[in-house]
């Protein structure tokens, strides 16, 4: 178990705790949205759908950023072998973050009365642009916050001549995070130009900056968890970052298909964003390699489970589901429907949310000085959150497929009368899986907030395991080979291919004449297939690691039960 080497690492804890609180509220807002989708008159006039949705989106961004900042503050001193620069600025950053979250909660409600706070042509209070709803005042504070983060990270790091790939990834990541934000700080008259710049922020954040930070942090967490070699992880980070930027820079073109920009973007977007899954495959492969680099048991199962979930859902949600709708011929149907919400939920929560949760499970016990903790709550929470999110992705995807058919193919545009009733089953599935997800969220937030303060949390897991096991690995728990991992990945992509063909089939003449059989069939096979394979793969991966810890306990010099499992 790593102990704290640098005092300023402790500053990361507060960001993780705030992250958990924001995550809880974001989930609660999500459940309210699900309820309003079933009955749009619910709370109408009091707390309109658009206000709640804004909070759902903005809190998602805020808590993911909290997770990033917390993780960066934790690994920064370890990467630099010295204390963080200017810890007082980090405290300023923390209070600025709290203030912006509270300010944004208050100002977004003004959208119900159409108050944007126009001043010199700029909306000061809120601006009603998806993901960038915050007004100019909050924008400026956020920009200052990013600048503080840049300053702290770059001042803490050694001089660039001594940087390894993780330094490069994180350093460029925080700089780009700040630079790209500026493009969302202007009122643009033309909607095509406005959407052009809005995607600078949204796309380049997610597919340029966040993914780079994600790759770097996943790399370093693997180094910490498995004592993986920094050099070989650095190699993966280098290629990951390079591929992300080479594909992602022009991949942004997939947002410029239908917003009023010219047709040629359809060529560039379809071509380059089809390459975007490549770095994700790379990252996916690396978590397999690094997790199997030593045969030692995993000390902190929840932390690793969320890290694995992050990389696998990045593959499935961002990589595969993103791929299915990245071609102009499929995107023309999926654009503006629930099909995209399926991709967005799995990709954003899966990739970035789960990374933050993984880091929290790794860091919080260390901060509180707990050698072992009862990992059962964390594991259960992981499975609830993970299956809940897969279920949400499924519900959105099926609802979206129906929506494409009814809304686009049949041209029915009465949402209350035609479209919503057709989507009713999916609309009910959303809060059902959302409830599973929310139970998991409550459990993990409670677990992490009280870890070390509860008597029961200090619990010796390896002891329980060592007594339960020591028998030969069963089939499902046998060592996961590279071939098998490749087959799982292939199965995911086969189902992804079926989904893509299903979306493509909306172009067929039979479908356009009103027969939904083909797209419904493909979606009915593709989505459940993909999500079940994902679920089974995670299960297989984790039980393989668990068996490893069981068999290796008696082998590892027969330690005292209380110290077993210490890496």
């Amino acid at each position: 178990m790593i102990r704290i080497e640098y005092e300023t690492q402790r500053l990361s804890l507060r960001f993780f705790l705030v992250m958990l609180v924001l995550f809880f509220f974001q989930t609660a807002f999500g459940l309210m949205l699900a309820a309003q989708h079933i009955d749009p008159t619910l709370l109408a006039g009091t707390l309109n759908f658009n206000v709640i949705r804004t909070q759902h989106l903005n809190l998602a961004i805020f808590w993911v950023l909290c997770g990033f900042i917390g993780t960066i503050l934790f690994v920064g001193p370890l990467l630099s072998k010295r204390e963080l620069a200017a810890p007082w600025l980090i405290k300023v950053l923390f209070y600025a973050l709290l203030a912006v979250v509270a300010w944004n909660l208050a100002t977004q409600v003004l959208a119900q009365r159409g108050i944007a706070g126009w001043w010199m042509g700029q909306p000061l209070l809120q601006e009603g642009l998806e993901y960038l709803e915050a007004g100019r005042i909050a924008d400026v504070v956020i920009l200052i916050g990013f600048a503080i983060l840049c300053y702290v990270v770059l001042r803490t790091f050694p001089p660039p001549s001594q940087w390894n790939e993780i330094h490069w990834g994180l350093g460029l990541g925080v700089l780009a995070l700040t630079a790209v934000w500026v493009f969302g700080m202007f009122f643009v008259e033309r909607i095509d130009l406005q959407e052009y710049f809005r995607w600078y922020v949204v796309h380049y954040w997610v597919e340029g900056v966040w993914e780079v930070i994600h790759i770097s942090l996943v790399g370093f967490l693997l180094v910490l968890m498995f004592k993986a070699d920094v050099k070989s992880v650095g190699y993966a980070v280098f290629w990951g970052v390079t591929l992300v930027w080479l594909s992602g820079l022009l991949g942004n073109a997939h947002h410029y298909f239908w917003v009023g920009t010219p047709e040629f973007w359809q060529f560039w977007g379809s071509l380059f964003s089809a390459l975007e899954p490549l770095p994700l495959v790379f990252c996916f492969w690396h978590i397999y390699l690094d997790a199997h680099q030593d045969a030692k048991p995993v000390a902190n199962v929840p932390a690793f489970a969320f890290l694995l979930g992050s990389v696998v859902l990045e593959q499935v949600g961002a990589g595969i589901l993103g791929f299915t709708m990245t071609f102009a011929l499929t995107n023309v149907w999926s654009h503006g429907t629930w099909v995209t919400a399926s991709h967005a939920h799995l990709a954003l929560f899966g990739t970035f949310g789960m990374l933050g949760l993984s880091a929290a499970y790794y860091v919080v016990p260390i901060m509180r000085g707990i050698e072992h903790f009862d990992q059962r709550a964390g594991r259960l929470a992981f499975w609830l959150v993970f299956t809940g999110m897969l279920g949400l992705g499924f519900a959105f995807a099926i609802g979206g497929t129906v929506q494409v058919f009814v809304y686009r193919t049949l041209g029915l545009d009465w949402f209350g009368g035609d479209v919503a009733p057709a989507m009713q089953t999916a609309k009910i599935m959303v809060p059902v899986f959302g409830f599973v997800f929310a139970v998991g969220v409550c459990l993990l937030v409670f677990d992490l907030l009280t870890l070390g303060h509860r008597r029961s949390a200090v619990f010796d897991v390896p002891e329980a395991m060592a007594t339960a096991a020591a028998h030969a690995p069963v089939r499902w728990g046998r060592r996961l080979s590279g071939w098998e991992t490749g087959l799982w990945l292939l199965a995911m992509w086969v189902f992804g291919g079926i989904i893509t063909l299903g979306l493509l089939s909306f172009n067929l003449d039979t479908v356009r004449q009103g027969s939904p059989v083909f797209p419904y069939m493909m979606a009915g096979i593709g989505y459940p297939g993909l999500l079940l394979v994902t679920l089974l793969f995670i299960w297989r991966f984790l039980s393989s690691l668990e068996t490893r810890s069981r068999v290796s306990v008696p082998l590892s010099a027969a330690p005292l039960p209380s110290s077993a499992g210490v890496v």
Binding site: G114, E130, F238, G260, A341, G416, R512
Partner: protein, 323 residues
């Protein structure tokens, strides 16, 4: 994988090569971007679009201020609770939108759209001279009226002013004129023939689309109050006035008759037959405190004296009704 510990790595060279390729990508991207916004492309810009004296740029500000994107999509981006708004103007026309936006809580009827067409600017923008021609030119408006007219929508009433409504329509006129490269795809079938289009039960007895049905159908209500109730519904009054005390856009009707109304000039008046008749025929003659002039259209050219009397009788019948 080639970069094992102890082996030479050539990291600097690789970094420089990666940066060079990245630079090439950036050049391509910027060149494509520049080509996207040149004038010769002919894409419509909002500063050249106006509607009835309203500016599309002002409309975009209204669109953002109310966070319309938080429920609807525009050019496909936004939320999926309501329909995409990009091409709406071209489908339903300005008069339907004028009728819908101030009281978004209920769907416009024939009467409400006809009323908006009385406004010369609206009719000129629509390019028609009457309701029949309008419904022919905008069949989606006709379909909306026949299937949904008079019923509650799932959208909350927003506090849109007269000015904001006009600006929003100007903005949506701009977006509907945009070249979005064939998106959304044009349906090849008539969706109304499919089982998905079976309307929700209470909309099944919606008012028919033909304008001739206005108040002179075979089933003329026997009592004056019932006639007034029917007229209030057909002429779109109920879009803004609830039969309860609730304020939608205008005041609720329950308990209104006989009450003392405070006017904008601080004088008071009792809401009797004469006052209510005047409000229906010339609503801006005396503006009530807390309300804006010009929100309610005049009904002088639409309703005859008997019809106004019937509506007043209906309002009177709501006098003692509890909310």
């Amino acid at each position: 994988m080639s970069c094992k510990p102890g082996e030479p790595c050539h990291e600097g060279v690789k970094r420089r090569r990666a940066l060079a390729v990245l630079g090439l990508m950036a050049v391509i991207f910027l060149a494509l971007s520049a080509a996207s916004f040149v004038d010769s492309r002919g894409q419509v810009v909002p500063s050249t679009v106006s509607y009835a004296g309203h500016d599309a740029v002002a409309g975009k500000r209204v669109f953002q201020a109310y966070n319309c994107m938080g429920c609807h999509t525009i050019v496909g981006n936004g939320a999926y609770l309501g329909p995409d708004l990009t091409k709406l103007y071209g489908k339903v026309g300005p008069a339907w939108m004028e009728a819908f936006l101030p009281s978004a809580g209920s769907w416009p009827t024939n009467g409400a759209v006809r009323l908006q067409l009385q406004n010369k600017a609206v009719a000129a923008d629509a390019g028609v001279d009457g309701l029949d021609a309008y419904l022919e030119k905008y069949p989606d408006a006709a379909e909306r009226i026949s299937r949904r007219g008079g019923h509650a929508t799932q959208m909350p009433n927003l506090a849109l002013s007269r000015e904001e409504v006009g600006a929003l329509i100007a903005f949506l006129k701009y977006t509907s004129q945009m070249d979005t490269e064939g998106w959304p795809p044009v349906p090849k079938v008539d969706g109304l023939r499919f089982p998905q289009a079976k309307p929700i039960p209470h909309a099944a007895q919606s008012t028919p689309a033909t304008p001739a049905s206005l108040s002179t159908g075979p089933a003329v209500p026997s009592s004056k109050v019932a006639l007034g109730e029917e007229l209030a519904k057909e002429n779109g009054c109920t879009a803004c006035h609830a039969p309860t005390k609730e304020k939608l856009v205008g005041p609720g009707w329950a308990g209104l008759y006989g009450s003392t109304v405070k006017l904008a000039d601080n004088s008071t008046v009792v809401a009797d037959d004469a006052y209510l008749t005047e409000k229906i025929l010339k609503p801006d003659a005396r503006v009530v405190a807390g309300y804006e002039a010009g929100v309610m259209p005049p009904f002088a050219d639409i309703l005859d004296a008997d019809q106004v009397a019937a509506i007043v009788a209906y309002i009177r019948s709501l006098e003692g009704r509890k909310p």
